[in-house]
């Protein structure tokens, strides 16, 4: 397990950077995927690969199903309500997987996955009844590793970033795992955007796996990372000998209220907590204000989700106005100039309109700008002092300076 962990953590940085290049790698056929296609594109080999990929998918889906089944059977808290909602969520996730299988990016995955790795992961599968949830969790992570490791061994050469992209593409299990956990926490709103497995997802799954490894001696359900975090939390309060390594653990210890409630409640209660959370999420009440949670919305250690979504949807001007304005000037990054100076309310003439003295984009007339320069010399918009860049801009509009 430890060796696996090392490998995974080695992969993860590459993966995150590679996926970060385009947010929708997994759903859309990208250039990188096409360039990654097999070196000898004969039809027969391709078909085989497609079949192999499909097989692998099937194997994964089966493993996932086993997981769910075992979760439902191991947690007997209100089985009827949980099972029904879970099966529905499972259904739509299966649909998503099917969709993903049809995506062209997935076909390339077959070229990278080694036969041995595939067989390994298939061999590792066991009947549901004989394995506990804990064991399945182990198996799952091992299988996951086999897929990645296999792709490495197959090529007999160092992993390039593109290949690692394909690797991460090849394993939709990982982000989906993560999603499942989020769904459990009743945060369905985050799942509305499909196929956004961004850097944060990989990083959070990384942190997830690290937590899992550190608590693998417990009998916790490994997939439920919030439960694991809760358990870790209690463990840390109970025995001080245990080294407290992860940052989120430290920060969660800083909240006295939560600590109190956790230490007063038993271990069992703590493990059951996500389950009850899940139920409350089903009821539609998504308040996360209770104590005893692993993460709160404002918690710094909480893994951020979908940060790329906001970045993609927001205009660059809003995300970083200063940089954008500085590099692009008044070509099109800035809002249309106001008709009047916001300081003296005088009408802005054409010279004034083209005058952008500060990188924040705050416009004013030359007259007011001059008056401010004589005074404290700070931009009214951002309170940063006008400096060399303002002078540079002034020289461009020097033709009207005598008038001022």
């Amino acid at each position: 397990m430890d060796a696996h962990m090392d490998q995974q953590t080695l992969f993860n940085p590459e993966k995150s950077s590679a996926v970060g290049d385009d947010g929708f790698v997994s759903c859309l056929p990208s250039k990188a995927d096409k360039s990654l296609a097999a070196p000898s594109p004969n039809e027969c080999g391709k078909k085989k690969r497609v079949q192999r990929a499909a097989k692998l998918k099937q194997c994964k889906m089966d493993a996932r199903r086993e997981q769910w089944l075992s979760q439902v059977s191991s947690k007997v808290v209100k089985p009827d309500s949980c099972a029904s909602s879970r099966s529905s969520s499972q259904d739509d996730r299966d649909e998503k997987e099917m969709l993903l299988q049809t995506a062209p990016g997935e076909l390339d995955m077959g070229t990278l996955v080694d036969k041995e790795g595939l067989e390994d992961s298939q061999l590792k599968r066991r009947p549901v009844g004989s394995t506990s949830a804990h064991e399945i969790g182990h198996l799952w992570s091992e299988a996951r590793f086999c897929i990645q490791g296999g792709s490495l061994l197959d090529k007999h050469k160092p992993l390039t970033p593109q290949q690692s992209t394909a690797c991460s593409n090849a394993g939709p299990a990982k982000p989906l795992d993560h999603r499942e956990q989020e769904r459990k926490a009743g945060q369905a709103r985050r799942l509305d955007a499909p196929g956004i497995w961004s850097t944060s997802d990989t990083s959070s799954s990384q942190s997830n796996s690290s937590q899992v490894s550190s608590s693998s001696d417990d009998e916790n359900d490994e997939e439920d990372w919030e439960a694991v975090a809760d358990a870790l939390h209690v463990q840390a309060t109970v025995d001080d000998v245990k080294p407290v390594k992860p940052a989120d653990q430290c920060s969660s210890l800083n909240r006295p209220g939560e600590l109190k409630s956790l230490s007063s409640s038993g271990m069992d209660k703590c493990i059951l907590k996500p389950e009850s959370k899940y139920r409350s999420g089903n009821c539609g009440s998504r308040t996360r204000a209770d104590a005893g949670r692993a993460w709160r919305p404002d918690d710094v250690s909480r893994p951020p989700t979908l940060p790329r979504l906001s970045k993609q949807h927001s205009f660059p001007l809003q995300s970083g106005p200063s940089l954008w304005a500085a590099s692009h000037g008044s070509v099109w990054g800035l809002p249309p100039p106001p008709s009047h100076c916001p300081i003296c309310t005088e009408e802005l003439d054409t010279t004034d309109s083209s005058f952008v003295p500060c990188s924040c984009g705050f416009r004013l007339c030359l007259f007011c700008h001059n008056r401010i320069l004589v005074g404290d010399g700070r931009c009214p918009g951002c309170r940063k002092s006008y400096n060399s860049e303002a002078v540079l801009k002034l020289s461009r509009t020097s033709s009207v300076r005598p008038r001022v």
């Binding site: 009047h340 916001p342 300081i343 003296c344 309310t345 005088e346 705050f362 007259f367 007011c368 008056r371 401010i372 005074g375 700070r378 009214p380 918009g381 309170r383």
Partner: protein
């Protein structure tokens, strides 16, 4: 253009804006002295869920001729128990009225900032030391009851009129 003219033009524009958006912001009532555009009075509503709730506080605003390059002088005319308001003079300790002033601010936005200050007292730079000490010692209840009492006594419309 002389500075007095600039400030006058600016204040006149603000006056027009205030008249136009009177109904938009019911928490702030800005009125200008009929004879002197540099003298304003504001009535602000105490923010909800604070001890100042349901109080109406009167502010006097003195606008200097260099406005908007220098901040207006604002003080409470109504007694208010707040760590950043001098209990006797009504002086307000607010950074945007001093060092952090920006010419882009308006009288309206200054009033909004003062309402925000009422909702978020800053006990570390107190002008009202008693109030600040209450908050710093963690006696939130004591602070709230005092502030509420003074709101009832001084800022309630029924009592003052």
């Amino acid at each position: 253009m002389p500075t007095s003219l600039a400030s006058r033009a600016r204040l006149f524009k603000e006056y027009k804006d205030v008249q136009r958006e009177k109904s938009a912001d019911t928490d702030i009532l800005l009125t200008c002295d009929e004879n002197n555009i540099y003298r304003w009075t504001a009535h602000i509503k105490g923010p909800a869920e604070t001890p100042y709730q349901e109080g109406i506080f009167q502010l006097s605003i003195n606008v200097p001729e260099q406005y908007p390059l220098v901040p207006p002088q604002v003080r409470f005319l109504t007694k208010v128990f707040h760590p950043n308001v001098h209990f006797k003079t009504g002086e307000i300790c607010l950074d945007i009225l001093k060092t952090a002033w920006s010419p882009a601010w308006t009288l309206q936005s200054v009033c909004r900032a003062i309402i925000a200050l009422m909702a978020h007292p800053e006990a570390d730079s107190p002008l009202n030391c008693d109030c600040g000490n209450l908050l710093r010692s963690g006696d939130l209840r004591g602070y709230q009851s005092m502030a509420r009492m003074y709101t009832r006594l001084a800022a309630s419309p029924n009592v003052s009129h």
